[in-house]
Amino acid sequence: MATISVPLEQLQPKVKRPGLGQYLRWSVDHKIIGVQYAVTALIFFLIGGALALGIRWELFTPDLDFMADGTAYNSLFSIHGTVMIFLWIIPMFGAFGNYLIPLQLGAKDMAFPWLNALAFWLIPPAGIFLLGGYLVGQTEAGWTSYPPLSTLFSGDGQTMWAMSIHLLGISSILGAINFIVTILNMRPEGMSLWQMPLFCWALLATSFIVVMATPFLAGALTLLLLDRVGGTAFFDANRGGDVLLWQNIFWFYSHPAVYIMVLPGMGVVSEILSVHSRKPVFGYRMIALSSMAIALVGFMVWAHHMFTSLQPELRIPFMITTMIIAVPTGIKIFSWIGTIWGGKIRFTSAMLFALGFLSMFVIGGISGVMLAAVPFNYQVHDTYFVVSHFHFVLFGGSVFSIYAAIYHWFPKVSGRMLDERLGRLHFALTYIGFFFTFFPMHWVGMLGMPRRVAVYAPEFQSWNIVIGIASFVLGFSTLILLYNMAWSWSKGRVAGANPWRALTLEWATTSPPPAWNFDEDPVPFEDPYGYGTEAAQAYLDAIDRAFGLPDAASDALPRTGSTPLSPAPAAGD
């Protein structure tokens, strides 16, 4: 006889949502911080997206006509890449990590709430620093900032770029320390590591990468700053420096950073596929372990970004380590298919994006293996093929999973459901827009169009027009999501505590949760994905009894209706 810790037959009182003022101030509540992260990241997503559309607008013609000059175009994609990586994807997963980890572990807050707030508040100044570069001559060396272009040439914005990334690196290290300690120390009684939600596993692996790799970025940036303002010549070959030094140290961070950006998404997808197909995760341990394997092997592959610059004899070893990564990634993909196989798939917007993730991410995986093959890499390195590859991983992977996560957890954060019809429209436009933006790039790249050019050979124009039109569809689709979120925040249907009838602990409290998260220490269900058992049904029914039902007209999962239940109170402001 197991129990869950909610008062018998007694409905929880209405929960007040935090006011706007609380979101604008320093707060140590992980839920406030989570929302602060998310809103900040979404703002930067819009900025980065606008920059991307600027790039596509320029590329409608093979000549330089939209931007004033080549330098302005170079800043465009440099800032686009930097913003999307460091100010959108990484902080957005920081948002979900912050909001969800303590809730999924049944904890009151993170291990170090104050440090958590500090980690967030480093981000806005860093973002302002980065964009402020436009006032002093923006960086034009790309997000990779290879010297000597970034040291001897690029504008003073490059110095601000480096300082900004430095701050963001410190922010993510502080965040990651917090995640690791919270996950390792603050699990509730009855939840071993192997009973932890897979999202926590993913964040554990991610945080491990962050703490081990980000210091290398700090080291590289220190040298870059010294070369720019301190008169040193670490990267100036004319004075005995070495340009490969930067590439090695930079990629030692930045390749693992790809997994920082995609592992949390994999965690999200593992959760959502299981919940929305009403079936346990297939091969839970393998998914958890493959995250760790990816994190470990991810440290040994950095030089595959340098196949055209690295000493030839070192290229093959890095090809082999890179190919190895395909194995744990494959395990995940097949396990996810195993998860939905035989389930009761419900096509909620969250599920659509999770399935979209699967179908798009696998393309990024295939092109990744192709890129690892050194001879073929020579042809496509630094071309649109690579642009396509990493957008399939980072948009088809990370951003699709972020969208899925937004549809899945927005009800928990706001107490309201997102509109499902708008969600489906958003999915359709995103999926089509995304595919036709990035898939043709493979071909354009193989045929000979390098990346980061404003001027290109006229024979590529027709494809660039197709890509450009699709990219505007993709850009527009984002506005639907933002409208949906804004509208649903106040007008959406009441979500109740557990609209998706999910077993993880964040659903065993009101939506939104009170400041202290749980009225009493919650007792986790013995299997976070144990769907399809009577025990799970009983557990979920008990949550419904204690917290009330979602609005009957909402798109929440329908109930069996065996016991008469009251509707959940609406969350007010």
Partner: protein, 207 residues
């Protein structure tokens, strides 16, 4: 199997739970702090590893050490290393003392540790100028490494001074039950020692 839900608690039970909860949370805080500092150390030592890799790769530069210059002399840094080790040793003794509630002994050993640390720091500052800029790439690498280490050393030495000031102002401030600040400082000081030993070997003993 049937799931039931718990009955509401009485006021008495609630108070008792509250007391237990506070105890648990205090223990958890300490546990979190310890793990947090350990992970921070594991993470931040990577910056020092990165700089060692920089050192190693720059050694291949044709202008690593121009003819007519030699690598810096190891005598003074060896003295500094000895001072640092001694400082860490007395910081460790001080921590043991405070854990055993021997407050006076703690304070005297802590003072010794701080003074030795200060001496180490001064020698390190002088080492920043052990090589002239004309000597080649070695000077930049050398200065970055020493400077980076010194920046961390001064931050943590500042913590040591703060602990000393608190302990002097209120002799019983740190005791067997309250010594996390001391322990954290000692742990971070160990970190400075480990980072320094790595640098010391790389900078002075690998030709």
């Amino acid at each position: 199997m049937q799931y039931t839900t718990r009955k509401p608690l009485t006021a008495e039970e609630k108070r008792e739970r509250e007391r237990q909860r506070q105890e648990r949370e205090a223990a958890l805080r300490l546990k979190n702090n310890k793990l947090g500092v350990t992970i921070f150390q594991g993470s931040w030592i990577m910056v020092f590893v990165a700089l060692i890799i920089v050192n190693w790769q720059m050694r291949y530069s044709p202008e690593w050490l121009k003819p007519g210059y030699s690598t810096p002399d190891a005598t003074l840094p060896s003295v500094a290393t000895a001072l640092l080790l001694a400082s860490a040793w007395s910081a460790r003794s001080a921590l043991r003392a405070v854990k055993a509630d021997q407050v006076a002994q703690f304070l005297s050993q802590w003072r010794t540790a701080t003074v030795l640390g200060g001496a180490f720091f001064l020698i390190m500052l002088s080492q920043l100028f052990a090589l002239p800029p004309e000597a080649g790439q070695i000077t930049s690498v050398f200065r970055v490494m020493i400077g980076y280490h010194a920046a961390h050393a001064i931050a943590i030495a500042f913590m040591m001074v703060q602990v000393m000031r608190y302990a002097q102002a209120r002799p019983k401030h740190y005791n067997a039950n309250n010594h996390w600040a001391v322990e954290a400082t000692v742990r971070l000081w160990y970190f400075v020692v480990v980072a320094w030993i790595m640098f010391y070997v790389v900078l002075y003993w690998i030709p």
